[in-house]
């Protein structure tokens, strides 16, 4: 399982994550102030132009990330054709696409390690609420480590179900999967304590 960061190197990969996130927040705020198609079309063209230094594979990756939006585009198109409010529909669709594309661009050009470092820095004030950055980083690492472990566990539970039953494994595999997760969590807790604790 890979992160969504693009392997194609763009100039944006060299920028730090913090300023990119701040710029994205500003840009999105401005987008939601615009409410006519023309300025939003310019904003979309601007975001599209930012993708060009990455070349064709980078643009293809960006378009793939936009694919989950098409059902909403379809609903909006039908709805606004029906109500005969094409300007309103175009405004909403342009704003949505631009906001999502801009956010995806930051995700595609920022390495996971940089994001985690930024999260740790931003979460530093939470230490006063009882969540030290080190504990948060440990939780992130544990979750990522256990994605392949649990994925594999779920596959094996489905396999053994199929070995015993001609029917497809349905929701019934969820109980053993949850139980296995609880058992793993107990063992991880013991292992952490044995190594000096998480605190």
């Amino acid at each position: 399982m890979l992160a969504l960061t693009s392997p194609v190197q763009t100039p944006f990969h060299r920028l730090r994550a913090g300023p990119k996130l701040a710029a994205l927040a500003m840009f999105t705020l401005i987008l939601f102030q615009l409410d006519s198609p023309a300025p939003l079309a310019i904003a979309l063209a601007f975001v599209a132009a930012l993708h060009l230094p990455g070349g064709r594979p980078f643009v293809a990756h960006a378009l793939r990330l936009l694919r989950p939006l098409w059902p909403f585009a379809l609903i909006l198109a039908l709805w606004h054709l029906w109500t005969d409010d094409l300007t309103g529909g175009a405004t909403i669709l342009l704003r949505l696409t631009t906001a999502v594309a801009a956010a995806n661009l930051v995700t595609m050009t920022t390495r996971l390690s940089d994001m985690i470092a930024t999260v740790e820095r931003l979460a530093a004030p939470l230490a006063r609420l009882g969540l030290p950055p080190r504990t948060l980083a440990l939780a992130i690492a544990l979750t990522i480590r256990f994605l392949p472990v649990l994925s594999d566990r779920l596959a094996r539970i489905s396999e053994s179900w199929r070995a015993r039953s001609p029917r497809r494994p349905g929701w019934r595999i969820l109980t053993p999967a949850t139980l296995a997760t609880l058992d793993d969590a107990d063992q991880v807790a013991e292992a952490l304590r044995a190594r000096g604790g998480a605190g």
Partner: protein, 180 residues
């Protein structure tokens, strides 16, 4: 401390892994994704606080760029998409489901089912519908109409959450952090 941390982290991973499972097709032929079922289970199994934290950790991993939402979606873009209200509602849904199980003295299966309904349907929709109305420029009733196709699947997940939580409690008494 270690026990809370490991349970929160591993349940965050469980929610993600349940999103990889293509789709669970029920006997009636209705396909449902197991991810929101994972959110409800976080609440009913781990309790309000730990359940909500597990969901928050899961969302954090999505935000920093891991494609863990069902359908392989992820990154910052999903927080600008029409379904953002549901993402915001996820941790609150787990919290409400957990709170009901913690406070109620009803049999565990019933309490979990009721908690999953109040959290995973009532609370979740209370966030999801305004989010969709805002992002798609629609009124609240119009947005509610757009998500009614999901209601049936979500009600099935409520029932399954009750059943699974009940089986867990029966197989291993004392394993539910929400009841200890």
């Amino acid at each position: 401390m270690e026990r809370s941390l490991s349970h929160i982290a591993l349940f965050a991973a469980l929610i993600a892994v349940l999103g990889f499972v293509p789709q669970i097709t029920l006997a009636t032929g209705v396909p449902i994704t197991a991810q929101s079922l994972g959110i409800m289970l976080c609440g009913t199994v781990l309790g309000a606080k730990r359940g909500a934290l597990a969901v928050l950790l899961f969302l954090l991993l999505v935000a920093i760029g891991l494609p863990l939402l069902s359908g392989g979606r992820g990154g910052l873009g999903v927080f600008a998409s029409p379904t953002v209200g549901f993402l915001v509602g996820f941790p609150v849904a787990a919290f409400v489901a957990g709170l009901i199980v913690e406070r109620s003295t009803a049999p565990i299966g019933l309490a979990a089912g009721f908690g999953a309904f109040l959290g995973g349907v009532v609370t979740l929709y209370a966030f999801g519908i305004p989010g969709m109305a805002l992002m798609l420029g629609k009124t609240l009733p119009e947005a509610a109409l757009l998500i009614t196709p999901y209601l049936f699947g979500d009600l099935i997940k409520v029932g399954l959450t009750g059943l699974i939580t009940h089986s867990l409690a029966r197989m291993r008494p004392g394993i539910l952090m929400s009841r200890n």
